[in-house]
Every structure is written in C-alpha cells, then in structure tokens.
C-alpha cells in the first residue's frame, strides 16, 4: 500500500532533533522506558518508593546492620541529650535577655536537628536529574518571590536577610540556611500538588 524509505524517517528524526534543539526552554526530564518494563512508582506493599528496602544505610531497612542500628540509637540519644540541654540554655537565654527572635531561631535550629536525615535525602535528590530540574523551577519561583515586593513572603525574606547578617558564619549555620531553603521548597511542593 505504502512504503516509507529509511531516508524519509531519518529526515523525520533529524527534524524532531532540530525541534528539540530549537526548544531552548525545554528542560530535560528523566524518561523511563515503560514498554515491556516493570511498572514504575509505588507498590501495594512497598508504599511510595515501590521497593522493599532490605537495607539502606541512611533510612535503615527491615534488616539494618547491627552496628548501624547501634550508631542510630547512640546518635539519637546524643541528639536528645543535646536538645534537652540546649533547650534549657535557650529558655534561660530567652528569660534573661527577653530575645524572642533569638529563641524562635533556636527553635528552628532544634527542628533542623530533628529533620537532619530528611534534609540529607533532599541533598541527594538535588543531585539527581529530576531533582535538579525541579530545583531550577523552584529557584525561578524564589526569583519571582523577590520581585513580589510588599508581600508577606518578601517581608519574611527581608527579615531573614537581616537575621543572617548577625554574624553566624559557621559551617553548621550554612547547612541550616540550606535547610531553610529545603523547608521553603517543601511548602512550594505542597502548593503545587494541591
């Protein structure tokens, strides 16, 4: 009935490639072959990840290594002790100086300590192709936020900038800043899924 010569299809493919190149705004996305392959995404028993984690050095798993489990317990206990001691000190500081802002910051710091593991996951995600594409979109959103002067978000951002100048320049503080970015990203992600 009809016959396509290979040349015609090569031309078509080249045309598609040109279209792709012309689409400078195109963001790479992680295409996962579906035909013939195993279904991507969540599993009935394995939840969101779609995999039963036999072992994960970060998240644990059904059979975490003994040494890691011990490490996790030890570090958990240490964190609790640190948090308790720091909390007392912070309350004293809050009482003696009456610095509500300082105390608020410290509470955020405590939250960061609790969510450290999730934050490390976020750092890994940022390195992935999908993560880097999403992050780029998020950064564009942040740019847009900056331009929306007068909004409550922008005021908060300015307050944060002021607070940042208060002399905290440790490596831990840097990580804390990144964590705030992570929190903002989570909020944005939630708003995207609604």
């Amino acid at each position: 009935m009809f016959k396509f010569k290979p040349v015609s299809w090569i031309t078509l493919l080249i045309s598609l490639a040109i279209i792709a190149l012309l689409g400078c705004n195109a963001k790479p996305f992680d295409y996962q072959p579906a035909a013939g392959e195993m279904k991507e995404g969540p599993g009935v028993f394995t939840g969101k990840s779609g995999e039963l984690n036999i072992y994960d050095s970060k998240k644990g798993g059904i059979f975490p290594k003994d040494s890691d489990a011990e490490d996790a317990e030890t570090s958990g206990a240490k964190t609790a002790q640190t948090t308790e001691a720091a909390g007392t000190a912070a309350a004293a500081a809050a009482g003696s100086q009456g610095n509500a802002q300082e105390f608020k910051d410290f509470q955020e710091f405590q939250q960061w300590q609790e969510e450290k593991a999730k934050f490390h996951e976020y750092q890994q995600w940022k390195k992935s192709p999908e993560g880097s594409a999403d992050l780029k979109e998020f950064q564009e959103y942040q740019q847009w936020q900056k331009s929306a002067k007068g909004s409550s978000d922008f005021k908060e951002f300015q307050e944060y900038q002021e607070w940042k100048k208060s002399g905290r320049s440790s490596a831990e503080y840097k990580e804390f800043q990144e964590w705030r970015e992570f929190k903002a990203y989570q909020e944005w992600k939630k708003s995207q899924t609604k």
Partner: protein
C-alpha cells in the same frame, strides 16, 4: 578487530574497578526488592476456532527485581540489577492447540548486571539492555501495558488459517517492531545527559554491537521523548545484517499524545521493515486510551504485509494498580496465495506492583 574491542572494554572495566578500590569506603548503601504480577484473560478468534486463555501479559511480564547501589567518594557509584521474570502461560505463546497450561514455569533471565558510574557516565557489565533495546518503543501514552509497538507480545503465538487449513505463519512471525538487539550479555556505556540528549553503545558476544541516541525534553506545554539506534548482528546471524530502529512520542499537557516508530532490518533477500503510529489521550488522571496501527512488510515472506489494528485502555484506580483492556486485529496480506482470516484478540487484566 572485535576481539580487540572486547579486550579494551575489559581493560577499561578493570581499571575502573581498581580505581574504586583506591577510593574511600562507601558513604551510602541501599538494597531493595520490587516486583509485579500481571495477569489477564485473553479471548482469541482466528475465524475457525475461538477460545479463552488465562495468561501472563507479555507486554510487561510478571517478575521481580533486586537492585542495590553504593555511593563512594568523588561521586563514584556502583550498583547492581538482578531482574527475573516468571511467566505462567505467556500471552505471546498461546495457540489454539493448547490444552491446559503451558509446560512447567521457569525463571527467565532478564537482567543480571552491575554498573559503575560518575559524572562522566555509566558503564554496565552483564546481561542487560543493549544500547538499542527500547529504541522502537518510546511511548508516553500510558497504555503500554495494554498495547504498544510490539504487537506480537499479546497474540504472537496464534497461527493464521484459511478455511480451516492452518498455515505455518504465526502472528509473531509476520510482524515485529525490530527493537534493536534486545537484552544480551554485553558491556555497555551510557554518556551523561546533555540538554536532554544522551548516547550509549554496547558490544556483546558474536561481535554484535550497537549505538543509540536518546532525547527527553519538557517544553512546558508538551513532553517529547525520542530514540534512534543502529545495531549490527556481527557474526550472530547468517541472514540478518543490521537494524535501524527509531521511535518518538509527544505528550501534550492536556493529555493528547502521539507516538510513531520506524524500524528496518537489513536481511538477505527480504529487508523487512515496520511502521507504527499511535494516538492516545490521558484524562481524569487515572485513565489512558489509545488507538494504534502498524504494518510489518517482508517478514514472513517477501511482500507479505502484517497489519495490526489495536485499541488499548488503562485505568489506574491507585498508583500501584492498573486494570486494562486490549483489542487487536491481526491481518496478513500474502503476496503468494490467498489471504488467511484475520485473528481477533481481546484481553482484559490487571497489573499490580508489590
């Protein structure tokens, strides 16, 4: 020449392994298991006999998989994939003479490989996808579990008949999407992705080799994925020389999607080729439907035309569960002799990931 290439490949891998031993111990390790069950009821009517079959949908067979990876310093990563399928009554092996079930179920190897990667790409060694595998099957329709370019995966084992006289030609023997070199024991390299483009190449036993180029880009209003490959049979076949395989799929934000595929095999005397087109629509988040048409020419015999019309529908009530329906009409237009009756196949089933 090819032996030299093999030697070179193994030297490169040995160097990579040595480099891994030299770097610091692992930072992060994970090991996971996943799998799926994909079962269906299939009804086939070849114009003379009609029968029900209970099958394992070969579009995406029942299987399980172990994966693991290990992060090292300086962005080095090493991982393993071990994927095994286990099919009782594969949908592409049913025929009207079958009484009861097919013979004992066995494990079939799909992937048994490890990979080593960093910012410069990824090298694979073991049984796994050749670079060209999947290049005729790029598809964003969301209906691949029901129907896609490899139309023989559903009713490939049925024989065509004319007035009750069965021919020796099957559905699978008269059509193919010529999807490169499938899965083999090989060494493979994938480049990193540059502006959505990535390249890969692999070499396997009997001097088979292939190269592939892939693209995946999101334009905001649509997503485009495409792939093309050149495969060489080396000394593995006395009749087949090489394959050009390609496919592309465009998915608009509002759900409409268009998919096309073309593949051509250089083969003694016949040079078969396949064209495939599909129009689909994704709607209400949980539904996807598609209509497709394909033609393979010169495969069962010179100037034979194996046409296939297909409809696929997939309903995903939950992310881990899909129910689907498939309808295929397999036609064969013979150059010599009368044309056999069409074979109609309908299939309904479900795929559950666990």
């Amino acid at each position: 020449m090819m032996q030299k290439k093999f030697k070179l490949s193994f030297v490169v891998l040995a160097l990579i392994a040595a480099a891994l031993l030299a770097v610091s111990p692992a930072n992060a390790v994970d090991f996971a298991i996943s799998g799926q069950i994909n079962r269906a009821a299939l009804y086939a009517d070849d114009g003379h006999t009609a029968k029900w079959f209970f099958v394992d949908n070969d579009n995406s067979s029942t299987r399980f998989r172990f994966t693991g990876s290990n992060d090292f310093e300086k962005d080095w990563k090493v991982g393993i994939v071990w994927e095994v399928e286990m099919q009782s009554n594969p949908s592409n092996e049913m025929d009207m003479d079958l009484n009861g079930d097919t013979t004992d179920v066995t494990f079939n190897e799909r992937k048994m490989e490890f990979w080593v990667g960093n910012a410069w790409g990824k090298a694979w060694l073991g049984q796994g996808d050749m670079a060209s595998n999947g290049t005729s099957e790029v598809d964003l329709s969301g209906t691949t579990v029901a129907a896609y370019s490899s139309v023989g995966d559903v009713g490939g084992g049925f024989f065509f008949q004319d007035n009750g006289v069965y021919s020796t030609t099957t559905v699978g023997g008269s059509r193919s999407n010529f999807d490169g070199l499938s899965r083999k024991d090989r060494v493979r390299y994938d480049t990193p992705t540059f502006a959505g483009f990535s390249g890969s190449g692999s070499i396997g036993n009997s001097s088979i080799w292939d190269v592939a180029l892939r693209y995946a880009g999101d334009f905001g209003w649509a997503k485009l994925a495409a792939a093309a490959a050149w495969s060489d049979y080396g000394t593995s076949s006395s009749t087949n020389d090489n394959i050009l395989s390609s496919s592309a799929s465009l998915l608009f934000d509002f759900g409409l999607n268009l998919t096309a595929s073309y593949a051509y095999r250089k083969q003694d005397n016949t040079d078969p080729y396949n064209i495939f087109g599909k129009v689909g629509y994704k709607f209400l988040e949980k539904h996807a439907v598609s209509v497709q048409y394909s033609r393979t020419e010169n495969l069962s015999a010179k100037d034979d035309k194996g046409d296939t019309f297909g409809i696929g529908y997939v309903f995903s009530p939950w992310k881990s569960v899909e129910f689907y329906g498939t309808y295929y009409i397999y036609m064969l237009d013979r150059d010599a002799g009368s044309n056999p009756d069409d074979i109609n196949v309908g299939m309904i089933g479900g795929r559950v990931k666990f």
